[in-house]
C-alpha cells in the first residue's frame, strides 16, 4: 500500500501541475482545446490523493510500523478512533490530509459553481491546482508520509496523550477545513483579477465558500478552546499562543470581509478592499501553517521543527508578491460605483467595523511576530505573552463589541437625527441599566463592567431588531408572534442569521469576562481531609479527599484521585482527576504521565479539579481546585455563533438586494410602523 500511496502522490503532483499550467495558459490564450482537460485533471487529482490518504490509513490501521509516520504516531494498543485521527496528528499526515481536502474542495468548486461563472473556472482550477501542487510537492520532497525505516520496531510510540481526546478527532479537521476552504474564494478572486471580470459576479460565486470557511474556522477555534480547557489542565481556554493566534488571524479578516462584501453587493463600493481582504485571508492561512510547522516561534502546539517551514515561507512570499502585483495592475478597474455619503451611515459603520477587525488582526500578528522583531532590533530575546495581548487587544475588542451594537442601528446611506434617536434609545438604556445593576451588585473592575454593559447594549440592539421585525410582520400579515418570528428569520436569513452570530459574539464576551472572577487554591489532602473555596456567585464548595486508586486501562496506567464535593453543605457527588501513564503493548511507558482534569459544569460556574500528584507515593494528594465562572457560556456562545452562521448560509431565504430597492421599500415599512434598517 505504501508503494501505491507514494505513486499516487507523484501522480497527484503531475496532475495538479498539468491542471495549473493548462488552466492558466489555456484561459489566458482563450483556447478551449487547452482548458478542456483541466476539469478532468482536477477530479483525477482528488482521486489520486484520496487513494494516497486511504493507503496511509491502511498503514495506520494495520500497524505497519516500518512506515516512520505510523511508528511515530500510533501503537498497537491505541484505541481505534485515534488510529483514524492519527492521520492529522503529525506533520506529514496532516499535509496529506490538507492536500486531499483541498483537492476535494477544488473539485466541488468545479462541480457546484453555476455555469454563468464558467469563464472564471479554468483560472479557479489553475489556482486551486497550483496550491495542491505546492502541498504535494512539499510532501514528496520534504515530508513524505510513506517514508520507510531501515528496521521495523515491534510497536510504535503511540499518540501524544494530549491528543488522545475526542476533541482532537474533530478540532483539527474543523480548523483545517476552515483554513483549506479559504483557497476557493482566493482562487475566484485571482480568477476575477486575471479575467478582468471585476463586477460583483465573483463575489456572488464565493458567498457560500466564504461562509463555509468562516463557519469551519469558528467551530474549529471554539473546539480548540474546549480541548485546551478539558485537556491542558490550566483552567483556561485561550492563552494567546502563536498557533492559537494563527487561527484567529484569518477568522478576523474573513469576518471583516463578510461585512464589507455587503457594501460591495449593495452599493458597489470597497472592491479593492474586498479583494485585498480575500488575498490577505489566504496569505494569513498560509502564514498560520508556516508558524505551526516551521518552529520559528515557540508554541506548545507546534509540530516538530523541520525544513517544511522554508517551503511555506517561500510559498507565502511568492503568493503575496503575485497576488498584490495582480491587484495593483487592476487597480484602476476597481473604482467604486458610488461614493459614500455620510459618516453616520451603515456603510460607514461597516467601514469602522472593518477597521477594527483588521486592526485586531494586525495587533495579534504584531504581537505574535514582535519577539522576532525585537530580537532583530535590540539583539535580546523577549517573551510576548497574555499580559501583552490583553493590554493591547482588550480595549480594541471592547470597541468592536460596541460597534456590533451600533452598526445595525444606523440606516444605509445616511441616518437622520430622529432615526438615530429612535434606534438608540432602547439599546443604550439596556446598556446603562446593565452597568448600574452590575455596580449595585458590587461588581468591580473596569474591563469586566465595560464588557458586560456593552453586552447589555448589544443585546438591546439585537432584541430590538427582532422585536421590530416580528411586530412589522404581525401588523402587515396578521401572523402570530412565533410564526412571524420564524418567517422573519426564514425570509431574511442573512440578516437575522447575522444577528444570531452577533448574539454568539456577545455571549462570548460575557463568558470571557467571567474569567476575571476566577477563584483557585492549591491543597494537599489526606483521605478524609477537606478544603473549601467560595465562588464569585457566593457558593461555598467543600472538597473532601476520598482517596487515590490505581488501575490499568487499554493503553495506560491510571491513578485516579477522587474528592467528594459539597456545595453550600449539600453533597454534589464525586469528582475525579487522573494521572495517566501511557504504555505501549509491552507495557513500556511511552510518554511522561499526563493529567486529566475533573470538571463539573453549570450555567453559573465550573468546578475544575486537577490532581497535581501524590506526596511521597502515598494517597496524600495535591489538588489544584478552581472555580471558573461562566465557562458554559463560552461553548453555548460558540453554538449560537455556528447556528447563526448556518442560518445565514442556508440556501434560499431571499436574495441580496441593492440598497436602492431596500431604500425604496422603507417608506411603506415606515407606514406600517415597522423596522428601520
Amino acid at each position: 500500500m505504501t508503494l501505491l500511496g507514494e505513486f499516487c502522490l507523484w501522480l497527484a503532483l503531475l496532475l495538479s501541475a498539468w491542471a495549473a499550467v493548462l488552466g492558466f495558459s489555456g484561459r489566458w490564450q482563450d483556447r478551449p482545446d487547452l482548458t478542456a482537460s483541466v476539469r478532468g485533471a482536477v477530479f483525477a487529482t482528488f482521486g489520486a490523493l484520496a487513494v494516497a490518504a486511504l493507503a496511509l490509513w491502511k498503514g495506520l490501521a494495520s500497524h505497519d510500523f516500518n512506515i516512520e509516520y505510523v511508528a511515530a504516531y500510533t501503537s498497537r494498543n491505541l484505541p481505534d478512533g485515534y488510529i483514524i485521527s492519527a492521520l492529522w496528528a503529525g506533520q506529514k499526515g496532516s499535509l496529506l490530509f490538507w492536500a486531499v481536502v483541498l483537492s476535494l474542495f477544488g473539485a466541488l468548486a468545479q462541480l457546484l459553481t453555476p455555469r454563468r461563472y464558467g469563464a472564471l473556472m479554468p483560472y479557479v482550477a489553475a489556482v486551486t491546482s497550483a496550491v495542491v501542487a505546492f502541498f504535494v510537492c512539499t510532501m514528496v520532497f520534504a515530508a513524505n508520509p510513506f517514508e520507510r525505516m531501515a528496521f521495523t520496531p515491534a510497536d510504535g510510540r503511540g499518540l501524544n496523550p494530549q491528543l488522545q481526546n475526542p476533541g482532537m478527532m474533530i478540532h483539527p479537521p474543523m480548523l483545517y477545513l476552515g483554513y483549506i476552504s479559504i483557497t476557493i474564494p482566493f482562487a475566484f478572486a485571482i480568477a476575477a483579477l486575471l479575467s478582468r471580470s471585476l463586477d460583483t459576479g465573483w463575489i456572488h460565486a464565493i458567498r457560500k465558500w466564504t461562509l463555509v470557511s468562516w463557519l469551519f474556522l469558528s467551530i474549529g477555534i471554539t473546539l480548540g478552546m474546549w480541548w485546551a480547557y478539558v485537556e491542558l489542565g490550566w483552567g483556561g481556554y485561550w492563552a494567546w499562543d502563536p498557533v492559537e493566534n494563527a487561527s484567529l488571524l484569518p477568522w478576523l479578516t474573513m469576518t471583516a470581509f463578510l461585512h464589507s462584501v455587503m457594501i460591495q453587493e449593495k452599493r458597489g463600493m470597497l472592491k479593492r478592499w474586498n479583494l485585498g481582504l480575500i488575498v490577505g485571508t489566504f496569505l494569513l492561512s498560509i502564514f498560520g501553517t508556516f508558524i505551526t510547522r516551521s518552529g520559528v516561534i515557540a508554541s506548545v502546539h507546534s509540530f516538530t521543527q523541520s525544513n517544511v517551514g522554508y517551503f511555506f515561507l517561500a510559498f507565502l512570499v511568492v503568493c503575496g508578491i503575485l497576488s498584490f502585483t495582480l491587484l495593483y495592475t487592476r487597480w484602476s478597474s476597481l473604482k467604486a460605483e458610488v461614493q459614500l455619503e455620510s459618516v453616520v451611515s451603515r456603510e460607514a459603520a461597516f467601514l469602522f467595523n472593518n477597521l477594527l477587525l483588521v486592526g485586531v488582526a494586525f495587533s495579534v500578528l504584531w504581537g505574535t511576530l514582535f519577539p522576532i522583531l525585537s530580537e532583530l532590533v535590540r539583539g535580546s530575546k523577549i517573551t510576548v505573552g497574555p499580559p501583552f495581548f490583553n493590554r493591547v487587544n482588550i480595549p480594541i475588542g471592547l470597541l468592536l463589541l460596541a460597534l456590533t451594537g451600533i452598526g445595525p442601528l444606523i440606516a444605509w446611506r445616511k441616518a437622520s437625527t430622529a432615526n438615530l434617536k429612535r434606534q438608540f434609545i432602547g439599546p443604550v438604556a439596556a446598556g446603562v441599566v446593565t452597568a448600574v445593576a452590575l455596580l449595585a451588585a458590587g461588581v468591580r473592575g473596569l474591563y469586566p463592567v465595560m464588557a458586560l454593559s456593552l453586552a447589555g447594549f448589544v443585546a438591546g440592539t439585537i432584541g430590538q431588531e427582532f422585536y421590530r421585525g416580528v411586530r412589522a410582520r404581525r401588523r402587515m400579515h396578521g401572523e402570530s408572534a412565533p410564526v412571524a418570528f420564524g418567517r422573519l428569520v426564514a425570509r431574511n436569513r442573512r440578516r437575522y442569521g447575522g444577528y444570531l452570530v452577533h448574539a454568539g459574539v456577545l455571549i462570548y464576551f460575557v463568558a470571557f469576562s467571567g474569567m476575571a472572577f476566577k477563584r483557585e487554591i492549591e491543597a494537599t489532602l489526606k483521605p478524609g481531609d477537606s478544603a473549601t473555596l467560595t465562588s464569585p456567585f457566593g457558593h461555598t464548595y467543600t472538597f473532601t479527599h476520598v482517596g487515590v486508586s490505581q488501575f490499568e486501562a487499554l493503553n495506560r496506567v491510571v491513578s485516579a484521585a477522587t474528592v467528594q464535593v459539597a456545595k453550600d453543605g449539600k453533597p454534589e457527588g464525586l469528582m475525579t482527576s487522573e494521572k495517566r501513564q501511557h504504555v505501549d503493548s509491552f507495557r513500556r511507558p511511552t510518554f511522561e504521565p499526563s493529567t486529566e482534569v475533573g470538571i463539573r459544569s453549570n450555567l453559573q460556574e465550573d468546578v475544575y479539579i486537577t490532581y497535581a500528584g501524590s506526596v511521597g507515593g502515598t494517597e496524600e494528594a495535591v489538588y489544584r481546585l478552581t472555580i471558573n465562572p461562566l465557562v458554559w457560556w463560552v461553548w453555548f456562545g460558540g453554538f449560537v455563533l455556528a447556528f447563526g452562521g448556518l442560518v445565514t448560509m442556508w440556501p434560499g431565504g431571499g436574495a441580496v438586494i441593492p440598497v436602492a430597492r431596500a431604500a425604496a421599500a422603507r417608506p411603506s415599512l415606515a407606514e406600517a410602523g415597522a423596522l428601520t434598517e
Partner: protein, 204 residues
C-alpha cells in the same frame, strides 16, 4: 468429568480470566490511614505538601508576570500548576518565594529575574525603548486610520452635497428614489405602488 467438577473448572477458568481485571481494579495496596500507591511512578512526579506560598495571591501575581524557561510559553504560576512534569517552574517558584522571604517587593523580584535571566524572563516586555512600539503601534495605527477615514468621509460628504446641489448625484440610479421617512411624502402614487410591490418581493 462430573457436572460439579466441570462447573468448578469453568468457575476457576472464569476466575483466572478475570484475575487481571481484579488486580487492575482492586483496592489500593496501601494500608493504614494514608495508603501507599502500588505504582507511585505512574502518578507523576512526587510532590511536596503544599505550602502557603504555593497559593499565596501575591506570589501568584508575581509569577504570572514571569515566563517559565522550559519552552512551554506559559508563565511560571500556570506552568507549575499545569505541567506537573516541568522541572523548571518549581525551581523558579522557589526562587520567587526566597526573594519574597528576603523582603523584596514585587518589582524588585521581577528586576532580579531580569538581571539573572534577561528580559525574556518577563511575560511581557517592559514598555520602554523599542518595545514601547509593541504596545503603542496597533492602537495608534487604528486611531490614525480611523481619523483618516473620518476625514476622507467628511470631505466626500461635502463633495456629494455640492454635486447634488447642482443636480449631479453620485449615482442617479440610486438617488432617484427617496430614502427616509420625510421623503416618502414626496412620492407619487405610482411610486408608492412600486414600493409596495418591492416590499412584497423582498420582505424587508
Amino acid at each position: 468429568m462430573s457436572d460439579c467438577s466441570r462447573r468448578s473448572f469453568i468457575g476457576r477458568l472464569g476466575a483466572v480470566a478475570l484475575l487481571p481485571l481484579q488486580q487492575a481494579q482492586g483496592p489500593l495496596a496501601g494500608e493504614g490511614e494514608v495508603g501507599t500507591l502500588r505504582d507511585p511512578g505512574a502518578a507523576g512526579r512526587a510532590r511536596a505538601p503544599t505550602e502557603i506560598a504555593d497559593y499565596d495571591e501575591r506570589i501568584k501575581v508575581i509569577e504570572q508576570r514571569l515566563a517559565c524557561s522550559c519552552g512551554c510559553t506559559l508563565d511560571v504560576f500556570t506552568c507549575r500548576t499545569t505541567d506537573f512534569t516541568c522541572t523548571y517552574s518549581p525551581q523558579l517558584h522557589r526562587e520567587v518565594v526566597e526573594l519574597d522571604r528576603a523582603g523584596k517587593t514585587a518589582q524588585e523580584i521581577l528586576d532580579a529575574f531580569v538581571a539573572k535571566y534577561g528580559e525574556k524572563a518577563l511575560m511581557a516586555p517592559k514598555p520602554e525603548g523599542f518595545n514601547l512600539w509593541g504596545y503603542l503601534l496597533p492602537g495608534s495605527a487604528i486611531l490614525v486610520a480611523g481619523g483618516a477615514l473620518v476625514a476622507v468621509l467628511s470631505r466626500r460628504r461635502v463633495a456629494v452635497a455640492d454635486a447634488m446641489a447642482v443636480g449631479v448625484g453620485p449615482s442617479p440610479s440610486i438617488t432617484s428614489v427617496p430614502v427616509t421617512g420625510p421623503h416618502a411624502a414626496d412620492a407619487t402614487p405610482e411610486e408608492m405602488e412600486r414600493l409596495r410591490r418591492a416590499l412584497a418581493e423582498v420582505e424587508d
